[in-house]
């Protein structure tokens, strides 16, 4: 019997572990394409039909869209990408000031940034939502996006990277009379692909995972985000599992398509913070 390659056992083991972790997602995808009545029928007793659908349909998706879920998905995507766009801009500007510009009390200002990322947003969401409602700012994109744009951890991460950019570049540009904004925009931002992607993913996941905050500051369909819309399906008297699973597929697919190709940069940006 030929000797097994050295990588055989670990590959087999990680394959088994991954298969276990993937099972709920595979079941989710397969069930979303089943007729509603078939979904629970195939769970117990255990047969291959759990993974292999007997009948395939896209009815769940069309029903979900007809029921206005498209609006909720649009809201979630708009909020997440809007926050990433605005957040990358203002967080990197703050990081630039905290790394390249010398000004009095810089250390103190940086300490404030650090304190803000020690504050867990989930914990202060409830009183803050009360204020937002009192000011009649609930049910608006501003209320939904607001907490996710400025991010202390993103500022911290970008600053760590900016500090590693050779100061000579900054000085040479200053001698040539280049404005600070041009230095930021033409030198620092283009050099910072990995930490910008890392910060973007942090902001994206914050908004994509948001559940309690949207629950607190919206109560109209117009501003409902997708996870809240789906969670409400389960609370309704006549709840349609097929639509819920179809929605779950969409909500898992969008971030997977956005984040997985960029995962390499995310790992690099973790390295930059000194975690590893």
């Amino acid at each position: 019997m030929p000797a097994l390659p050295k990588s055989f056992v670990p590959t087999l083991l990680i394959g088994i572990v991954t298969a276990i972790f993937m099972t709920p997602l595979m079941w989710l995808v397969v069930s979303a394409f089943r007729p509603e009545g078939d979904i629970l029928g195939h769970l117990s007793p255990l047969t291959w039909e759990i993974i292999v659908p007997a009948r395939v349909t896209t009815e769940n998706f069309t029903l979900l869209i007809e029921n206005g879920f498209g609006r909720a998905v649009f809201n979630s995507v708009f909020i997440a990408f809007g926050s990433v766009f605005l957040g990358l801009l203002i967080n990197s500007m703050a990081a630039f000031a905290l790394s390249a510009i010398e000004f009095p009390r810089r250390g103190l200002v940086f300490a404030v940034v650090v304190v803000t990322f020690l504050i867990p947003f989930e914990a202060i969401g409830i009183p803050l939502a009360g204020t937002v409602r009192q000011l009649n700012l609930d049910n608006s994109y501003a209320a939904l996006m607001g907490p996710g744009i400025a991010n202390g951890f993103a500022i911290f991460m970008l600053r760590q990277f900016f500090l590693s950019i050779p100061k000579e570049l900054f000085e040479a540009a200053r001698v040539d009379g280049v404005s600070l904004f041009q230095i930021y925009w033409r030198i620092y931002v283009p050099l910072s692909k990995a930490p910008m992607v890392g910060a973007g993913i942090i902001i994206f996941l914050f908004q994509w995972q948001a559940y309690m905050w949207p629950l607190l500051v919206t109560n109209t369909r117009e501003y409902e985000v997708a996870p809240v819309a789906l969670a409400k399906l389960i609370g309704q008297f006549d709840f349609d599992l097929g639509q819920m699973l179809a929605g779950a597929v969409l909500l898992a697919l969008i971030p997977a398509l956005v984040i997985l190709p960029l995962q390499r940069y995310f790992t690099q940006s973790i390295a930059g913070t000194g975690v590893k």
């Binding site: 997602l25 007793p45 703050a94 000031a97 409830i126 400025a150 995972q209 000194g274």
Partner: protein
């Protein structure tokens, strides 16, 4: 680091504008630019982070009619069975889930780093659960845990084990939430540990690929001690996340059965919205903030130590 850059900047400033008056003007201008660069992020951080903390702190000394009651809310909390039970449940949950997640994440990271083919593919696949919104994962697992027609009981029956009550049993509901939260978290935390394992020097890694007893000894005495910082980071960050867990409880158990999954974040939500006692929720939030900030502060302190040490 900062001493270094200040020397450089002074030199740059001198090149730009010789003479002390000009120099002072340059510094003034730098401060003005810094304010312009900082203000958008700072306004938002103050509005959405700092101001609410100050507000919740003040609210915790008021009653429902906005009258000053001093420490009354705190006294009430510390004497309330519901709050004490919620603390007990939250601590038990964390004592169980954090070691479970870290051991599993470490195991996964070791398999990925030590010789599995296509490490990037496994890493990517196991990262998928964390990109699914937690509210959605909770819904999927809620279906899987159904006692009568759920897939998990179907698997138990197929391998000859007795069915379980899962989320509907006061004894098993917390375990069910641990399973679901670990499904989400393990792949994510292993990402940080893979990054850490890659930092362990090459010659140690070569000894590690040898099989048998030598592997485990190298792991235990050489590699894990070198992994102290990434492990500590993951432990602290994971604890902060799990102290604040909310969505699975709100969606699946509403704290029950018989308060067995009444994690403190859900207890706060319930005090605020079911019992409409916002000041009490504020006092509870202050206590939670103190604990979480102490833990996350510790994490930041350790990260900083790492940087100045290297």
């Amino acid at each position: 680091m900062s001493a270094d850059s200040s020397i450089n900047l002074t030199r740059g400033g001198a090149l730009l504008s010789p003479g002390s008056v000009e120099d002072k003007k340059g510094r003034h201008q730098a401060t003005l630019s810094a304010i312009l660069f900082l203000s958008p992020a700072f306004v938002l951080l103050i509005l959405f982070r700092l101001a609410p903390v100050i507000q919740v702190f003040f609210d915790s000394f008021l009653n429902s009619s906005s009258e000053w009651v001093g420490l009354e809310n705190y006294r009430f909390l510390l004497e309330s069975d519901s709050f004490l039970n919620s603390i007990r449940v939250t601590l038990l949950f964390n004592v169980l889930i954090n070691p479970i997640q870290i051991v599993m994440a470490l195991g996964m990271a070791l398999l990925i780093v030590d010789g599995a083919k296509k490490p990037g593919m496994w890493q990517t696949l196991n990262l998928l659960p964390v990109v699914v919104p937690l509210a959605i994962s909770s819904l999927i697992w809620g279906v899987a845990f159904r006692p009568d027609d759920g897939i998990i009981n179907a698997i138990l029956i197929a391998v000859g084990l007795p069915e379980q009550r899962w989320l509907t049993s006061a004894d098993q509901a917390m375990m069910s939430i641990i399973i679901l939260a670990s499904w989400v978290g393990v792949g994510y935390w292993s990402l940080f540990l893979v990054a850490g394992l890659h930092q362990v020097p090459k010659d140690v890694m070569e000894a590690a690929t040898l099989d048998g007893a030598r592997y485990w000894r190298t792991l235990w005495y050489v590699r894990l001690p070198l992994m102290r910082r990434p492990l500590a980071f993951v432990l602290v960050a994971d604890t902060a996340v799990n102290l604040l867990l909310f969505a699975p409880v709100q969606i699946l158990t509403r704290g029950g059965p018989v308060d067995s999954t009444n994690l403190v974040m859900f207890d706060i939500y319930r005090n605020a919205f079911v019992f409409a006692d916002l000041p009490l929720a504020a006092a509870e939030t202050v206590l939670l903030l103190i604990v979480v900030m102490a833990i996350v502060g510790l994490q930041f302190f350790m990260l900083n130590q790492r940087r100045s040490g290297s």
